[in-house]
Symmetry: C2
Subunit: 425 residues, 2 copies
């Protein structure tokens, strides 16, 4: 990134030295992991550019929006409804939580046995290296897992503008009532933040914009059904990751351009890996930028990842919001309906997630499933055992991985994953 | 325990050899830890008897109740309202979860990084050594922490009669509405289980019975304010533990007898330890039978435990249920009001818990607080840091302990606790 951004970062209160170090690691990692891939779609150049400017141009754009009076809302979870944020004429961005930073300082604030994602969100704040966080006018937390729910209590002393959304734990009628009440409270909070009333027209715009983004990703997902795989799991993961902070309309257009190219590739039987390469479905915890560890290991071990049953993947994007409502009430109800379907492991029971894994494995012609859990993520760890056992009993090979953001276990993981893939041939 | 119980245990499906081994360890531990104490109140003899018959006489009583058509309900949490269970003419008992058992088998069912309490509940089932569980007509789980919430999904395949109660995460109006709906669902489930309608009269009986039990414990707690301490923390903890499975009326009477003796002791300035012995308040995770580890270490290291801010302690028992309502609806509302005040760490925010710790420290004239967390118990671990920091900033020494049910860390804990107590002199 150009040095021209340094005054901007300084003004945001970033620790420039620490931030330089972070960007160096990020650029190095991106070069090693992404740019070293063979047979990439040419249209991925857009995402290479996005990543090269991840803390630069996109932050400049957000600050330009702020200069014009637009508000920036940051979040850590797919339960925060972007439709409502857009309807209030604000911008939603995902906040940094995909890399270890300032770990020693983090452990003054959080128990050692906290998952890497939560530790990361604290590390980026304590280390002053997340420009998205620093330019956000409001940060939206949510009572998903115990870890996040309780961590936000502490996080509120580190940031000024934290709003916490309550979530149900059961997909019951009272659970849905709770979600509806919370989304309505959020609607009011957004109106209060921006000073702009949410109308039928603006909600419709929000729904259509987000649906268009999701539909583009759905098109991308469907193209990944092909063998040979026209795009690597790494590149598809990146598209999912970038969806959390890019401009929605530009992102949608860019994904469609990739899809156009992938359609040609499929017609020509051109893939990133040879036909019959073992096909892996990944299921489990979200993988935020720059958490490319599992995908990199799998795709340098003789297999290709064809789908992600993950918040950064189909769990987060699979359902569109019904856009046929005419009144704000009808549209709010449609939004509640859509988000209430998310098969997050915080729900009990959560059997629909297993059904979705089965469905994805069939649709993507996966040869196996790797269940990916972050260490200390109780909800997904708890589901990982029954998921593995059920899939194996049904004849689908499954491997449970429990890891964090460090590279200390990379060698061990590679050995396990190579052995697993070897069995699939 | 007499061998006469062996046919009873066999009929319950217990693994007799494993159960013998468990009872041997339990009796040995009770002898080493409890019976070795000096200056115990004579009236603790009742609890010695209860413990010597913990899997014998009490189980015989429960089976006799069952023979007469009464139902037995088992639970793992203070959110299960005993008032409603009693009102339906059933008996509530706490289920075994205070010791490691069949750990290797447990880890086929639960992630390694699960707290000892949850692992224990599985271990007692898998090892077939909990007669309470085996004689329960219904087991009530509850969505408190992620660990328990998700573990019940798996537990339901191990037991036939699991009922899961949803709980709110926020003390908001919608949260209270959810609790009220769940308690009403539980009321109906109890009526269905026993076939007996819950009436104003039976609810009043339930409320009065449970209030009487709590009031007896409140009397005991108040007597622990005295210096020298008239009763050890270990013995008071035992009373709290036994409250979960003894006959309520007999338990209440027994606690009052202890209190009568303690009043005489206080008048005579007679204590279990000398006056001015450092006084410790314990706060944190519940300690179920036979988890006496922390109390034993503290009270053999030169200090006395004067209070427990715990589910097995004041958090579980502190508030009475308003018994002035005339209709079932009014009484159910009073029950909801009472349980909604429990300051469990699953709630966010949970600042009232800190206020309660402060209040208890003042009331009990505590010289220090030890925060006790089970490893991997995210809610209490997350609260432990701010609790420790706040108390220290207010001038009250505080020590955070993170442990499990094994004795592997006992030496290390003793060293830390001795050093901590040394600073209090």
């Amino acid at each position: 990134m150009s040095n021209d951004y340094r005054p901007m970062w300084e003004e945001l209160g970033l620790d420039l030295d620490a931030h330089d170090a972070l960007l160096n690691v990020l650029n190095q990692g991106y070069g090693d992991i992404y740019l070293s891939q063979q047979n990439r779609p040419e249209t991925m150049a857009y995402f290479d550019f996005v990543m090269s400017e991840v803390h630069g141009l996109r932050i400049r754009e957000l600050l330009d929006e702020k200069d014009k009076g637009r508000k920036i809302v940051g979040s850590y979870c797919v339960f925060v409804p972007e439709e409502i944020v857009l309807a209030a004429d604000a911008t939603l961005v995902g906040l940094c939580s995909g890399a270890d930073f300032a770990l020693e300082e983090v452990e003054n604030w959080l128990p050692r046995n906290t998952c890497a994602l939560i530790k990361s969100s604290f590390g980026f704040k304590l280390g002053k290296v997340c420009p998205y966080l620093e330019c956000a006018d409001m940060i939206v937390g949510e009572n998903t897992c115990d870890g996040k729910k309780k961590a936000y209590e502490t996080f509120s002393s580190l940031v000024e503008n934290l709003y916490v959304m309550d979530l149900p734990q059961v997909k019951s009628d009272p659970g849905k009532t709770l979600l509806a009440a919370e989304f309505d409270r959020f609607r009011q909070a957004m109106e209060h933040l921006t000073g702009k009333p949410i109308t039928a027209e603006s909600l419709k715009y929000g729904i259509e914009t987000v649906n268009a983004k999701r539909a583009a990703l759905h098109r991308l997902y469907a193209l990944r059904h092909a063998d040979p795989a026209p795009i690597s799991g790494l590149d598809a993961l990146l598209a999912n990751q970038v969806s959390f902070y890019d401009n929605p309309a530009r992102f949608t257009e860019s994904v469609h351009k990739i899809c156009d190219e992938l359609e040609s590739r499929i017609a020509e039987k051109k893939g990133v890996f040879p036909e019959k390469t073992p096909r892996i479905l990944v299921s489990g915890c979200p993988q935020a930028v720059p958490n490319w560890k599992l995908h990199h290991i799998v795709e340098t071990s003789g297999a290709v990842i064809v789908g992600e049953e993950s918040c950064v993947g189909e769990r987060g994007t699979r359902n569109l919001t019904d856009d046929t409502g005419g009144t704000p009430e009808e549209m709010m109800e449609a939004i509640v309906d859509r988000y209430f379907q998310i098969n997050c492991a915080i729900f009990t029971p959560n059997g629909d997630r297993l059904d979705h894994i089965r469905q994805m494995a069939a649709d993507y012609k996966a040869d196996a499933v790797i269940h990916y859990s972050l260490q200390f993520c109780q909800p997904y760890l708890m589901e990982s055992l029954p998921v593995e056992n059920t899939l194996k009993n049904e004849g689908l090979p499954a491997l449970r991985i429990e890891t964090d953001y460090s590279m200390q276990d990379a060698g061990q993981l590679k050995t396990r994953i190579e052995a697993f893939i070897e069995q699939l041939r």
